[in-house]
């Protein structure tokens, strides 16, 4: 490694880290990427039971009430590895971070949104600054829509039976003022590209895509590694960042190694990056504000699809939707519409007041007609703060989750309106809708906002004020958190910063 003197050290191989690396490496800048773990947390290529229960049965556990996705082996390993190493704990907050190649993109849902000019209100950049990066990132990761329209330019995968009817009906009924519905835009391949296969609509996506159809930033690593300007060092869990007079920055790892470069790009995920910076900056007395998206799930039934055969489709979002509930720019919900028959039944049965066998039978009878809509609120509806624990308490960080005043009451009303829109389209609400514990959303932002005022803000290049050469390139620097799916924007923003830094 000594022979390789990097211009940039990137910490983290998740979507943010990889997206910043691509333009830098393309411009011939030398990049050293450090990742905290060795290899993948869990392989998805094992026997079926290993994929679903985990090789050491880490997912054969009682239902903890979070999403089945977060309880799958891959997610358990990634998240637990992170929590163990980073001494972060949640208080009314599910602390979702990752330690492993590819970060959370190994388990994400792949649904994509693009922010528009209105969403970027309050950001130090314009839509035009992001547009080329959006295009580049989408071309790289491969996207498709689910059940596209006649005019779709993007590759399309067939939608499930409920979703295609709902969408057709929505189009037929014409525009309504506050509710929009569209074919979901997902980071999943419809056709093979570069060693990844197209989606075969087998469902079962929850346990990792064996075909590599769903994008994970792991897929970009071999391409980067082809370049002589790029090196990846795994098992390098960074514990300390220090300004270095001669070299710029020195980065120390848990196993005592030190790496140096003029610039460091921090892409350890919002929680991971905050944990690293907690040694360098002082958190405000009231705690460091983190924006997250309060989220809720609404179970639905389509009576017209009762007792019918379900159509083959993936378990990702079928449709995207938005519901405006207020006058401020960001006062709208964004969500995804999922068909339940593509998901494992066991966790649904836990919500049925029948016995286990009867529950399974009911599920078999009903699943072709069941759907779930998950919706996200914008980040300003959250009240989540990071607190540094005193050394007497064992150090580390506590994340205290919370909602804006009255959100739960307002959410009930909003949920009623949302249910009304689904009813108009032929879907009826089932009992069991609930706001999830903060953090389950995994949409995090805003800890070190670009263009902010305080000493914990960053420049439009994510450079932390007072620490030249130290850039944050993950969700930490998004100044606001619209309710939209955020990762594509995190990636585009990292790409933008990478492009600009490649000229420095």
């Amino acid at each position: 490694m000594n022979a390789f003197e990097p211009d940039f050290i990137i910490i983290g191989s998740g979507p943010a880290g990889v997206s910043a690396a691509v333009p830098l490496v393309a411009a011939g800048r030398r990049v050293l990427m450090l990742d905290g773990a060795f290899g993948m947390a869990e392989t998805v290529q094992g026997a079926r039971w290993e994929r679903t229960l985990g090789s050491h049965l880490q997912s054969l556990r009682p239902d903890d009430g979070t999403s089945p996705k977060l309880q799958a082996p891959l997610a358990r390993d990634l998240i637990n590895g992170f929590l163990d190493a980073s001494a972060i704990r949640g208080d009314n907050f599910v602390a979702v971070g990752s330690l492993g190649r590819g970060g959370l993109s190994q388990v994400w849902g792949g649904q994509l949104s693009l922010l528009d000019e209105e969403d970027l209100d309050g950001w130090p950049i314009r839509h035009a600054d992001l547009a080329p990066s959006y295009r580049a990132v989408m071309a790289r990761i491969g996207v498709s829509t689910t059940g596209g329209g006649p005019e779709a330019e993007t590759a399309a995968l067939p939608a499930g039976a409920i979703a295609s009817r709902i969408l057709a009906r929505h189009r037929r009924y014409g525009l309504v003022a506050d509710f929009t519905l569209w074919p979901a835009l997902n980071a999943v391949l419809a056709h093979p590209v570069d060693g990844r296969h197209g989606c075969d609509l087998r469902g079962d996506c929850l346990f990792g895509c064996e075909r590599g159809a769903i994008y994970s930033s792991v897929h970009d690593l071999p391409l980067l590694q082809k370049s002589p300007h790029f090196a990846l060092t795994e098992g390098a869990r960074v514990t300390e960042l220090k300004p270095h007079q001669e070299f710029g920055w020195a980065v120390t790892t848990a196993d005592g190694r030190e790496f140096r470069a003029p610039r460091v790009l921090l892409a350890a995920g919002v929680l991971g990056s905050a944990a690293l910076l907690s040694h360098l900056v002082t958190f405000p007395a009231e705690g460091l504000r983190l924006l997250n998206s309060p989220t809720l799930a609404l179970p639905l039934i389509a009576p017209e699809r009762l007792f019918r055969r379900a159509t083959a489709t993936h378990s990702l979002a079928q449709l995207g939707f938005a519901l405006r509930y207020g006058h401020a720019r960001l006062d709208y919900l964004t969500g995804g519409f999922y068909e339940v028959n593509t998901l494992p039944a066991s966790s649904f049965i836990n919500r049925m007041p029948t016995g286990r066998r009867g529950g399974r039978a009911l599920f078999d009878l009903l699943s072709s007609s069941l759907a779930v809509a998950t919706a996200y609120f914008p980040g300003d509806e959250s009240r989540t703060f990071l607190h540094l624990n005193r050394t007497s308490e064992g150090g580390g960080i506590t994340v205290r989750g919370g909602f804006a005043d009255g959100l739960e009451e307002r959410a009930k009303v909003i949920l009623g309106r949302l249910a009304g829109h689904w009813r108009r389209l032929g879907l009826f609400r089932l009992p069991g809708a609930a706001i999830a514990t903060p953090g389950t959303d995994a949409h995090f932002a805003g800890t070190f906002p670009m263009g902010g005022w305080g000493n914990l803000s960053t420049s439009d290049l994510g450079e932390l004020s007072g620490f030249p050469g130290l850039h944050l390139v993950d969700g930490s620097i998004l100044p606001t958190l619209p309710s939209k799916y955020i990762t594509l924007t995190v990636m585009a923003n990292a790409d933008r910063i990478g492009r600009q830094l490649s000229n420095t």
């Binding site: 039971w49 049965l57 054969l60 009682p62 039944a345 919500r351 066998r357 399974r360 009878l365």
Partner: protein, 402 residues
Amino acid sequence: MARLLITGSTGYIGGELVALARAEGHDVVELGRAAGWRIGAPVPAGMFDGVDAVIHLAHSWAVEDGAPEAANPNIEGAVRLAEAAADAGVKRFVFASSTSSRPNALNVYGRTKFRIEEHLSRSTAAAGVRIARIGLVYGGPRTAMYGLMLKLAGLSPVLPMIGLSREVQPIHVEEVGKGLLTLALSDLQSGDPFILASAGKMTFGTWLRLLRRVQGRGGLIFLPVPIALALLACRMTAFVPLIPTVDPERVLGLAGAAPMESAASLTRLGLTIGDPETRLSAELHRDQGDTALAEASALLTYLTGRAEEASAERLAEALRREHLSPIGLSERIIKSPALIALYEPPATRQDHRLARALYLADLVREAEVDRVASHGFFYSLVTAAVDICLLPVRLILSGRYR
């Protein structure tokens, strides 16, 4: 170490015998279809090279009742094989006969075995021939007649059966293997047939009850069936589509046979015969002490009608880890997992131990296959309806395993 040529080596006894012989360091040549040989066919050249003894287990079932002796390849084939072996200088020829071997046996099998014994003792190979009359073989792989009986006995508490008062002499397949090896390898005086069967006798009905008991099931009530009716039923099976055809031979085999004195043979062979109940219980329930595994199997059986071993082990591990083990399922529930339906709380009650355990069982079952096949509309409808009708009972009973 000796070199043995074994026919019928892929059968129930053959498989165990070959394994045993190899484990004792002997060299085994398998003579069968793989070597291009069938009963009655000449032995391929060179097969007898260096062979010390032949053990002839192969038997062809493709013989009609009442067919002339000349049309029965078993008789002709055994004699040809024995004589060819003797000509090639093989010292001993062990023939696997049966305790049903007698001139007036009810089934063709018993009569055929008897005829072969006669022909062998008059053949040019007679000097090296040893006859082993084998009793009711059990244990080891659950195949052949043993597998069938085990299954029948485990099936339901009421069993229509024939020949219940007939006496049987069970012997473990491994004991048979040892006996055959001793016959093949040691310089025992040949002459009278050796009886490989337990010295003690029990009725066939007692035997079936034992087979049910060792599977952890309760009592067994028999519906005695007249043999004529059983034979008629067998013949009918040939005409009814979708159900397996049952060979009347098997039925006659069950009905016939009188016990034989085996004590003297066993002493000469130095063979001790274990108690079948002890042996089988140990064999079938190596982990009977392990409640977690028993409970895991019961939960899986309740959900899916079966419990694969690997799945049960996974579930048992999780039950232990989650401090759910032992759930305390009663002996009756372990034996009849369907009873769980009465005690199971609603699945929403994930704070209830039994509900939580069943959730884990459901995860294990979902992990077995790519997609748990749904059972079709009516099955699901009935299952769901029955389940809902049981709710009141459960409200009362589910307290038991909280």
